[in-house]
Symmetry: C2
Subunit: 495 residues, 2 copies
Amino acid sequence: MAKVKKQPRPKAQTPKGFRDYFGAEVTQRSEMLRAIAGVYHHYGFEALESAAVETVEALGKFLPDVDRPNEGVFAWQESEDDGNGDWMALRYDLTAPLARVYAQHRNVLPTPYRRYAMGPVWRNEKPGPGRFRQFYQCDADTVGTASMAADAEICAMLSDTLETVGIPRGDYLVRVNNRKVLNGVLEVMGLGADDAKRDDVLRTIDKFDKVGEAGVRELLTKGRLDASGAYIDGVGLSDDQAAPVLAFLTSKAAEAAGTIANLRAAVGDSAVGQEGIAELEQIGELLTAGGYGKDRIEIDPSVVRGLGYYTGPVFEAELTFEILDEKGRKRQFGSVAGGGRYDGLVKRFTGQEVPAVGVSIGVDRLLAALHAKGRLTAEAAGPVVVTVMDRARMADYQAMVAELRNAGIRAEVYLGNPKNFGNQLKYADKRNSPVAVIEGGDEKAGGVVQIKDLILGARIAESATLEEWKERPSQFEVPRTELVAKVREILDGQG
Amino acid sequence: MAKVKKQPRPKAQTPKGFRDYFGAEVTQRSEMLRAIAGVYHHYGFEALESAAVETVEALGKFLPDVDRPNEGVFAWQESEDDGNGDWMALRYDLTAPLARVYAQHRNVLPTPYRRYAMGPVWRNEKPGPGRFRQFYQCDADTVGTASMAADAEICAMLSDTLETVGIPRGDYLVRVNNRKVLNGVLEVMGLGADDAKRDDVLRTIDKFDKVGEAGVRELLTKGRLDASGAYIDGVGLSDDQAAPVLAFLTSKAAEAAGTIANLRAAVGDSAVGQEGIAELEQIGELLTAGGYGKDRIEIDPSVVRGLGYYTGPVFEAELTFEILDEKGRKRQFGSVAGGGRYDGLVKRFTGQEVPAVGVSIGVDRLLAALHAKGRLTAEAAGPVVVTVMDRARMADYQAMVAELRNAGIRAEVYLGNPKNFGNQLKYADKRNSPVAVIEGGDEKAGGVVQIKDLILGARIAESATLEEWKERPSQFEVPRTELVAKVREILDGQG
């Protein structure tokens, strides 16, 4: 008989650009999502969970060509048998699905509709260090109102949220700007909505943080030699044309009133610019009335936010403390959340403009920030491990574990091959267990158990002198009836 | 100039087979997931979250042909630019990713590895009523041990979990069986591993619940006229051959010892059958020692579980209470969780057999069960709504909302167009708000606010006589300084 050709074994590998999360990585994220949801809910926002899958048509922006949708999303075509040959894709954010949901259900949803949503989103992009193709977002949006009270509320909520998850006041700042002010500046410069140079100017403004005032002036006019020695072409504006941009970018003053006055000067008599400034003033007044001062939220003209769909206020939450980057250099941690007003997304579906404003928190970045500040530890405490000295008495060990669990103590019995006791202790170590319980034949006969304080044991092994070791034994023999009480005592002592 | 052809508007529609979840549907599910995770964690299981995406190769079972992978999964081919042309797919369960993760990380993971995982899974199947293409699973598995203590532990944990999420003892039963016993029965019948009739027999056994002993006897032998009058061909066994199957299926006795004795008779001298019975006995002993009696967990030979990969014990949690189905007929609610031992899944990757056992809870079905029993209500309480009588005093209203929130009361200000006050009350109604707060010009001048008990108001409007209405007013005027206290009092009274 001919030998059947064997299938090669599949590779056990996380797909490129994705990753697995273990233990505390998972639980810390769920606790953070829960805390954020709590604040959103407290503000009157309602939960919404749409599916991971949308039609490419509904997601917009990405349109199918003959072969497959443009890059950016993970997409596939439904077979004609099951579906109708539609192109489907994984959502790339939580805003596009919200627009679809609101358009679809708007007759039964309250108006305005405050909703929050959290979950993974997917990007079909080249992965890089720390950049994954699946990551979590945590959004809150108010759909159906043009009131600046909605924008102010979201800024206040963002501030409350950051403090709730463990970023204290002083370690963050919510910075607010308005796209209309920027449009006013462009108008004053004589760059209309269709002017090709408009995008170049916007891109240049975004570099203000990096290259400063002088750098932006060069980039807007004749060009600039960058740090690497390469010559960057300028936008080609005259010095006069560039002046409003520079006035705008440097308009931040010590107090909001000063910033507003500077912005007024920068936009001159542009109607849209003045409108944007009035909106910023309204937001400022509402936040001041709510007790949110400039230690938490401030107007900052350098906030641009890349997304093209923003139409009014934009905001960004920045962590202001310094961390060391991978090369050991100090740098500010930077942005962890952002959002703004977008009035056109629902219109794609309904034809009617529906004003909306929202914020998106980058949960994974926030977690990284808490780790960087030492406010979260990588490893959580493991369970108490009841070791197995006599395989035939597994029921005895299970009974111990049940007693511990019923007393609210996380506990498990060792389920591996019990022959080698050293392996059991190695296992407890790998699990980060605080306590091991041992009951051999002698202990059973004597009605006692051995309880090992693994944290103290490790500390003694590392550093203690013989005297200290004698004074503070890390293993105790106690009556079987006192098992739970003694384990509890040790756990309490470990704090 | 030629008119530019307008793109048609996208349809605002949930993709076929998917759905949107709103408000309490979302929060009740997250609370349930959290409660289940709590029990799993307490038992020593560690969280794992892998991505939604795996290579089709790693998922197994579904292999790519020239065009696209077989049905069952949502799959797409990576472009050669970004990736390496691999076929990718959304996971269809949480067990296949676990096998991949364990094979990949086995050198750093503890052995045995107890892990839990929860999240959506996707099936590319024809959707039906109540059957969606994305749904939640909540799994716990122990990888790397052949000990029956692992199987017993998972049964006990399943029982604890059901009680924790609100299914009281008596309303559920965890039923345990063993595939090896079934294999022993087939061996006694002379049906070897390669016998074509084997699958027919298994399918017939699965119908025992529906057609009973006599029905199974007919189906195993000459065939049977079903309820609709159609003739179902039989498997074609002789009466003697069919006897062991019937002995097996009817072997359940009042006590476990009786069931075990009956099973011994059914498998005769089949070695694998006897091994399976010994395993069931071990599980039974461990559970009895742990205090899990037959009111919670019992041996039941009629449990088969469809999946081909189970190799030993299998179990199923069934809700035993009756509900009314969509046609008003009484029926048992049925299975909400199941699992078993599978020793071959990791081997696909590593070539080495790695014993494993796990359970999967169908979270959406459990939620449906709690709704059917009236233990969850569809609507949760909405926020207190502060209405807007004077648009210019938005800051005043925001301050009220902030006071309420700081006192721990969920509250929001009305953000729609405030012109029509009736719309504001309609909005509060739609939000299921318990209380509305009103402060017009007169109230402001008098230093008071109006507080409306909307729950009481609705009840009065429905049923009260004029006298009752006068005695129990649903609207109160209180000093502005007593806003929080009065709202709290009303909320407490609403219970």
